[in-house]
Structure formats: structure tokens, C-alpha cells
Assembly symmetry: C2
Homo-oligomer: 337 residues x 2
């Protein structure tokens, strides 16, 4: 392992000079800089991360806590994780992956050990146990998701309320009157993850203004669950012509069931999915969808975090405006016959 001292010796300067060349914290003459850089190249020097962390009290690592559950939104989570990693690297940070498994202890461990300089938490619950810890430390953090009380916290999330409203507007515009919301699994609501409720609230209140009737049904993913749910929907509201689906893994089953029942999409029934664009275009029908901008959420979270680490950057809640892309699964409501 090549050390700073060896580089210094090779370049004929002192260790501190090499350090300053690396960090740029003091001015260095052009000649010296070049000699040092050349030595670094020739010797293949890489600064030792541990020594650096010890001496500077910064690790250049961001911790990312992902949900352990793989029961929902897996592609979204993965995309966010990758976006976070890529953005972090662009700012000179590496990413430490933590699962929710350890819970609050992970926060304590990472904060206490100086393993990471900052953290990003995903899958935040309304009243998350980790929040008091975050408020009680001076380690910067950003949440992806929105807890009930955001005071003293920085949060990034899709504006799910506006997303719901947008879905209602789109269906109303096409003349639909009775719409059904196929929600997340009941467990998601019980867990109080917030986003599902926010979607529903936004959708409901806009629907009210527009004179739509809304039926909401939580739904586990999969064919069988969707089958039951759909039967109950048409049983209760036979005139339902619009669907908003929030649970990705219910989308394909829904489409299959509708086809099987002879209901054509979008002629007889319109379907909007709330999902990443990639999912929407790969479905068996090109889906009109409200996008979940995973990339942007990841990138934005990292940027807030960097801002906090560099001193600027205050606590704030960033809600990303939703975008609805019209594809082949929505159209005018069938005229009542």
C-alpha cells in the first residue's frame, strides 16, 4: 500500500504539501503540484479512507436506509437507490446500504461511529421511530417520504395529493362519473406510510369538486386478490368506468380480468396507474400513468443532503409535482346506453 509519505518523498516535498495538493485547501505552486500529481500517478497512490476519516472527522459516506420489505414498489426503491448512489458519487460520496431491519439502532450505530456523514431514509412512516433520533443529532439527514410531523426535518417526496387530484381530473375530463381506486395492500395502510392516504385524500377532494363518485378498495397484489376486489367493485358500483391503480402488482391482474370479462380498455373502462414510466410502457396495455419519478427523488434527496453538509441548506419539504402521461389505457367514458 502506497502512503502519502511515500508520495511526498518521491516528489521531494513534505507530507503536508501532498495533502494540500489533494485537498486544494492551500495554494500550491504549479511546479510542485505537477510533480506531486505525477508521483501520485506513478506510484498508484490512493488515500487511505480510514486514516482520512479519522483525521478529518468526515467519512465521505452517505448512509441509505432502504426498506427490508420487498412487498411493494421494488423497482421504485431500486431506482431510487441507484439514483442516490450515482448522484452521491458525483459529489464525491459513497453510499452505505442499510436495511430497515435494524430499525432505530442502525441510526444510532451509524451516527455514533462516524461511519457516515449523513443519511437518507426511505419508506418513512407517519410516526417513524427513527425521527426523534434524527432530530436529536446534528448529523444531516433527508427523508424520502413524508412523516406526520416534518418540523426540523428535510423531506423529499412526490406530491401524492396532487397526483391523486390529477388522476381524478383526467378521468373527469373524459366524462367518467364512477371511479374506483385500487389501493395498496391493507398492510400498507396499517403501517401508516402516508403516501397511500395522501393520494386518496387528494383524489377524493378533487373528485368531490368535479362531481365524481369514488370507491376505494385496498388490494394485495396478485391475481386472486385482484379478482375478489374487482368483483366487489362492480357489485357495489356496476357503473364504474374508471380505475386508478396504486398497487403495481395489481395492474396486470386487473387488465387480464377486465379482458376476461369482455370489458375493453379504454373503450369500456379507463385505467390509470400510479407507477414509474418504465412499468407503464411495459404493461400489456400501454398505460396512462401518473409517474413516480424515482430518479428525481433520489437525486433531489442527495442534493439537499449535500447542501446541508456544505452548510447551506435548511430544513424544508420538497414535493415534486406529478406528471400524467396519457397513453392507451384511458379514453372517453362510454355513453350511457
Amino acid at each position: 500500500m502506497v502512503t502519502l509519505a511515500e508520495v511526498a518523498q518521491h516528489a521531494g516535498v513534505s507530507a503536508s504539501t501532498v495533502s494540500y495538493v489533494l485537498s486544494g485547501k492551500r495554494s500550491i505552486s504549479v511546479g510542485t503540484r505537477q510533480r506531486v500529481e505525477q508521483s501520485i500517478q506513478q506510484l498508484g497512490y490512493h488515500p487511505n479512507a480510514g486514516a482520512r476519516a479519522l483525521a478529518s472527522n468526515r467519512s465521505s459516506i452517505i448512509a441509505l436506509m432502504v426498506p427490508l420489505r420487498t412487498d411493494m414498489y421494488v423497482p421504485v426503491m431500486m431506482e431510487i437507490a441507484i439514483a442516490v448512489t450515482t448522484s452521491a458519487r458525483a459529489h464525491g460520496y459513497d453510499v452505505l446500504l442499510l436495511t430497515g431491519e435494524e430499525g432505530p439502532d442502525a441510526v444510532r450505530r451509524v451516527t455514533g461511529s462516524g461511519l457516515a456523514d449523513a443519511m437518507i431514509l426511505m419508506d418513512v412512516e407517519l410516526d417513524d421511530e427513527r425521527l426523534p433520533l434524527l432530530r436529536g443529532t446534528d448529523q444531516p439527514s433527508v427523508l424520502i417520504g413524508l412523516p406526520a410531523d416534518t418540523s426540523g426535518l428535510t423531506c423529499v417526496d412526490l406530491d401524492f395529493g396532487a397526483t391523486g387530484a390529477l388522476c381524478a381530473e383526467h378521468l373527469a375530463m373524459f366524462g367518467h362519473r364512477d371511479i374506483a381506486v385500487i389501493g395498496e395492500a391493507p398492510a400498507v395502510y396499517e403501517r401508516h406510510t402516508g403516501f397511500a392516504e395522501r393520494t386518496l385524500d387528494g383524489l377524493r377532494s378533487r373528485a368531490r369538486e368535479l362531481g365524481l363518485r369514488v370507491l376505494h378498495r385496498p388490494c394485495e397484489g396478485g391475481f386472486d386478490a385482484m379478482s375478489l376486489t374487482l368483483a366487489r367493485v362492480f357489485d357495489e358500483r356496476p357503473g364504474t368506468t374508471g380505475f386508478v391503480v396504486q398497487n403495481e402488482s395489481a395492474v396486470e391482474p386487473l387488465l387480464a380480468l377486465l379482458r376476461r370479462q369482455g370489458r375493453a380498455v379504454p373503450e369500456d373502462v379507463s385505467v390509470i396507474a400510479i407507477c414509474p414510466d418504465q412499468v407503464a410502457v411495459q404493461a400489456s396495455v400501454r398505460l396512462t400513468s401518473a409517474a413516480i419519478p424515482a430518479q428525481e427523488m433520489g437525486r433531489s434527496a442527495v442534493e439537499r443532503l449535500i447542501a446541508k453538509l456544505t452548510g447551506s441548506g435548511k430544513d424544508e419539504v420538497v414535493l415534486i409535482a406529478p406528471e400524467l402521461t396519457v397513453r392507451a389505457s384511458t379514453g372517453p367514458a362510454p355513453t350511457a346506453s
Copy 2:
């Protein structure tokens, strides 16, 4: 920040004693141990990761390099990543997430800086640029995937050859004679990722023994691509009654297209998917599938790595035996009419 020295003072012992209590590398009397542990509790002490890494020359971090592309197998990758993280934690290691973006440089950086003690690489290509670096360092590593030359490397992967063979056997047993393989996107083959070819080879050679005719077609995911591919399949081999699908994002489109064409699954056509079980049960038909054991792959990779880190553990190739679960998408071939 509480330091070791403070703990030592509080407990009335020397710093080294506290260190030995923590590491267990020397025997400590019961009384001393208890006093130290109590002090650690009371003061809320967490060892500083940087100092530890510097002094011991080990970081207790495993680097995990995931593919940057999100064009394939996303749920599998995520599941592996989570399994790796969970297993690593169980062994006292944290996981540093790297994307393939940096390529070989990431290997150099991590190895050179001592950031991680070992690495796990996913999405390995047949002739991966990173392999020479791994062979040239004494940092332990494990690949998830199989390159062309495995000498001096430890690899963990599903036995895709056997998986292909298993699919052929299952369809043959049901009396199918003409089968089609819907493969990964052409880009995957061009990239030489190996697993797709291995599946095909295994399937082909077993099919030959069993007297099956095999038509292989790569396929981008999505509805449109699948539509074209399917048309060509039936054009060329109208008597095709069995499908093996390796591209997850082609599964639903295939099912939808078959339905639309009035071909019933499994009465007229049988479909086997090569995918994680979770995907198979959430599809619009409960799919007979050859499982991709993501969890096991992740766990197994970590175990080999830990073995290498602790001295035991030699280079080896671990191929996980495939398992085929029969569900509702395969059945006897229709009797020729």
C-alpha cells in the same frame, strides 16, 4: 463523541483493556468485563469506525457492485442486494453500494483506499474488465454470475444450464414437441452476460435428447416487441405449444397476446417462466416457473466471502441447483387434431 479513553477512565482501567473487552482477543476477568460493559452502556459509547479501520487495517465493510442498468432483472437485483446486506450485517459487516458506472475504476478505488475489506460483483460479463484487477489483488471477492474463465475466482450463480434442461424436461413430460424460448433482449446477448447462453445451451442439449424442437428468439421486454416476436414464432413453427420465457418483462405481454389470439393457457399452450417465485405468483396466471433464488445467491455469496476473510475458503464455483415449481401455466400438450 465518547472515546475509548473516556470509557477506560470511567471504568478505571486502561484503554487497551477496554479494547480487549470489545474484541475478545485476550482474556478478561469477569469483574473487569462487567465494569467496562457497564461504562460503555452508561456513556453510550460507539467505537469510531475510521480509527478502528486505521489501526486494525480492516473496515468491516463489504463493497457490492450492482449493475447501473435498470433494464433487466430489477427485482432480482434488489432482492440479492438486500439479502447481501442482511447476511453481511449478521456477520458484522456493512455494505457499500457501488454502481457499475465507474467500472474497473471502482474496484481500484475501493481496493486502494481500504474502504472495503472485500467485494461482491454482480452482473458479471463473460470477459469482464474487472476480473484482471480482482486476480491481481489479494482483496477477497465473490462474483454473482459466471465469467468465461473462473480460474482464481469464486463465483456463485444459479445453474442456468440445468435450469434450461429442467424446463425442457417439464415440457417434454407433458408431451410438447415444438417449443419456443423467449430470451432476453438482444443487448443482453451482445453484452455476453453468459447466463442467457447457458440457459439456452442446457435447454437445447436436453431438448435434443428428448426429441424436442427448439426455436429461440431474443426479445426486448414490452408489449410491442413481444407481439412481433410471437408472430414470428407462430409463423415459423405453427405447431408450437410450449414457451420458456427468460425475460421477465415479456411474460405479461405474452400471456395477454395468447389470450387475445384465443389460445388458452395451459390448455392450448404451456408457459414456463424463469423468474423469482414472487413474480410467478403475482402474474395474471399463476406461472409454472424455474425459480431464480435471489436470496440464496446473496446469502451464499456473503458466506463465501466471509470464509475467505477468515482464512478458510478457497476459490470455487458454486452453482445452485434449479427448482421448478409447477403452477397453473403448464399442462399436457393438446392432442394433435
